[in-house]
Symmetry: C7
């Protein structure tokens, strides 16, 4: 029996913190507020994580075609 689709996993993750790995090795983390079919994301309280340092970014829009993977952290 197939499991949840990409959209179902993201729907369930709305309002929770997700880890997003981007092309080129960047990583951001934030509360998922919305997404679309291109995997464009809106994150709140976002922060960039780079070699154990974090930089607060507030609300961000992530362009879907840079996303490598999304991981709900809860």
């Amino acid at each position: 029996m197939p499991g949840p689709t990409t959209a179902q996993v993201l729907l369930k993750a709305l309002g929770t913190t997700v880890l997003v790995k981007l092309k080129g090795g960047r990583e951001v983390r934030g509360v998922l507020r919305s997404f679309d079919q291109h995997l464009n994301l809106v994150l709140d309280e976002a922060e960039e994580v780079k070699s154990n340092k974090t930089r607060k970014l507030g609300t961000i829009i992530v362009r879907g075609d840079n996303v490598v993977l999304v991981s709900p952290t809860t």
Copy 2:
């Protein structure tokens, strides 16, 4: 309840300063004047930020497919 879409976040940011991270590590900052569905952006009073140095660019057009993320700074 889902949050604002990408377009709604950008609409709200019109006239305010946004930080834009580009592919290849470049970063620009400027006042968002307009955007379209490809995430093409027009920024005023833009400046490029590179290793703590800034370079004033004035009005710029950013091609959407180079955008990694957009962060309204207010």
Copy 3:
């Protein structure tokens, strides 16, 4: 006589552990829960494998256009 298609191989792998090689050299492993025609994947109990170290990621969504190859491990 041609063998199974990409979709047939993935269908058969649902519920089992797959190894996914991503662009840029990243590798993740996890239980395949779903996939679509773009090779977007949902993996459970996923972990990233980097130079013999693993990092647990839980459930993840992998964007299809970063996938280089998928290997069912059973």
Copy 4:
């Protein structure tokens, strides 16, 4: 109130010098003669700028999908 679109900024810049940043770090400068919806550009009196050296190129066609940003310099 939204500002000028990408096309409006370019229309206004016709006949003036623009700075164009390209993927891979290249930069060219020249008088904007025409553009299309793909951001293909025709520049006159163009020159490439690389680490403070310039190389005269005359009239050039820039392929839009290499453009990172365009900055009217006036």
Copy 5:
């Protein structure tokens, strides 16, 4: 007189071992089981070849847009 098309070469190679060169320098080898018009491939008894070392991967799906070239080895 033109020779065989891409599809004809692959059809003839079904069931035989092919060498596949991927973007980024990776190389895999395996028995071709199926392919589609995007050059997505299913390989059996696949192994990755890296600087004279091989790693057995079993059955794999190769995403077509990472393929640089395919070489039937017989």
Copy 6:
């Protein structure tokens, strides 16, 4: 008044030598024989230019999506 379009510049350059900069830093030079809307080019008497050395290539076809810029040299 807008200037010549990309196609008009290339039409005028038919039969003359053009410099073509390619992605990844490659440069070729040759007599432009034809082009299409994707910026695929046919060049005669082409030569590759790499760090002040040239290599004669004869007639070549350049795939448009590797073209960064085209510069008629006359």
Copy 7:
């Protein structure tokens, strides 16, 4: 008077040896057997050329979107 199109150059090169430069610096050489509008190529008696060493590959399929340029060698 415009010269031959890309397709005409390739048609004329069928059955002769062509040099193909690929993205990432790879180079292959072989007898052109067929091509399509995406510049997918079938080469016979192909060999990869890397820093003056060659490796025989036999018949190969080259995926068009990796092709930078094609040069008929006769």
